[in-house]
Symmetry: C2
Subunit: 224 residues, 2 copies
């Protein structure tokens, strides 16, 4: 939450004279979604997308999209839309996604295997460097090309690869203690796929994924 501080300038959030202006929390969330849609559109060979199409896929208002983008330049062509390749490149620059990031995956169950063998992270330049599990029987089995390792190795691996991002696909009972170890090892971003509520220091960001929460949200509007 302390990360959510917006830029101090009361004027243009992304002034052309200052293209490194810090994005607000909401803006960064939106730009991330734009990039996801653009990346996927590139795969299907789309050459242009209008702000309205981007809006349909991201559920962000189309005026908002044009405003977000126009803060960094004039990337669109009136009457046509935005060039997908060019805009994807621009958004990557805005989000500063240049550097390689290493990720550690904890849990080699169904969910761990699903995440480890998907291209979700690789598509955006993230590199899963290790898969850990507590079950001795799983040691050495392969998940997405990596051999499963004992959780005891975690500290050494995290340090060696300078891992800042950890994905927790473990049972709820194991998550709390594991999170404490990760925080002690310098992990700053935790994706929590367990049910457990994690207590971490303010400088660590926890993303808890829970489809049931989104379903409650969606159903509320469907039912009323």
């Amino acid at each position: 939450m302390t990360l959510a501080k917006s830029d101090q300038s009361g004027t243009e959030p992304g002034d052309l004279d200052n293209p490194r202006a810090r994005l607000s929390f909401g803006q960064a969330a939106r730009f991330s979604r734009y990039l996801q849609v653009l990346t996927q559109a590139q795969k299907t060979g789309r050459e242009t997308l209008s702000s309205q199409e981007l809006s349909d896929y991201t559920r962000v208002n189309s005026t908002q999209i044009r405003r977000d983008l126009s803060g960094f330049g004039k990337f669109g062509k009136r009457g046509v839309g935005y060039n997908v390749d060019a805009l994807a490149k621009q958004v990557r620059e805005i989000l500063q996604t240049g550097g390689q990031q290493n990720i550690a995956l904890f849990g080699a169950g169904h969910l761990g295997k699903a995440i480890g063998s998907s291209d979700l992270f690789a598509d955006h330049g993230f590199n899963v460097v290790a898969v850990f599990d507590a079950d001795p029987k799983k040691m050495g089995t392969k998940v997405g090309g990596l051999s499963v390792r004992p959780v005891a190795d975690a500290e050494a691996v995290l340090a060696e690869h300078e891992v800042v991002v950890a994905v927790l696909a473990v049972p709820g009972e194991a998550a709390g203690e594991l999170a404490d170890r990760l925080v002690a090892s310098g992990v700053k971003i935790i994706f929590n796929y367990s049910e457990s509520l994690l207590d971490v220091p303010a400088e660590v960001t926890v993303y808890t994924s829970n489809p049931a929460v989104d379903l409650l949200h969606a159903l509320y509007f469907y039912l009323s």
Copy 2:
């Protein structure tokens, strides 16, 4: 998006005289998250939670939380916090989560198995009624107590169980065509775990889950 219309009254969103006042899009999202944390806190035997603790777990501002809740009544005790059981009950009423909802799961791969065998949905009263897959070799195998069925059966099963919610844990290539069939069968809410962008009519809500998007977002603040 069309679902996001807020209530028309410019005054109290949740007037005590009108406890059924429609929640705004953002409010419904927040109440869903409160309920998730409260449900989990119940499991660990917590008796009370303060708005600050709820804020730490939901990343929603604590004043915002108190304000959301106070729109529906005075549920807290000053100097103590909120009773977990009582507040969970209240929030369930506010979100109108009484009715049973049936869900169909498509895809019996790693991700499908992870979702089908978890308690994520069951915890909130949702009922997975069928698991479908395209692979003939998987027919009859079990996922979370259900036998995997051919996708050809989908229309009949969706109609029989009045399914409004579908979860797509299938490869991207299969998702688009499947979504069209689901929409034709009356499905209104689709959880899309594939990479594919889905084109659906305005009355259908698509939730696309993508950890990489959240990671881009989180990293932006970590790196800058």
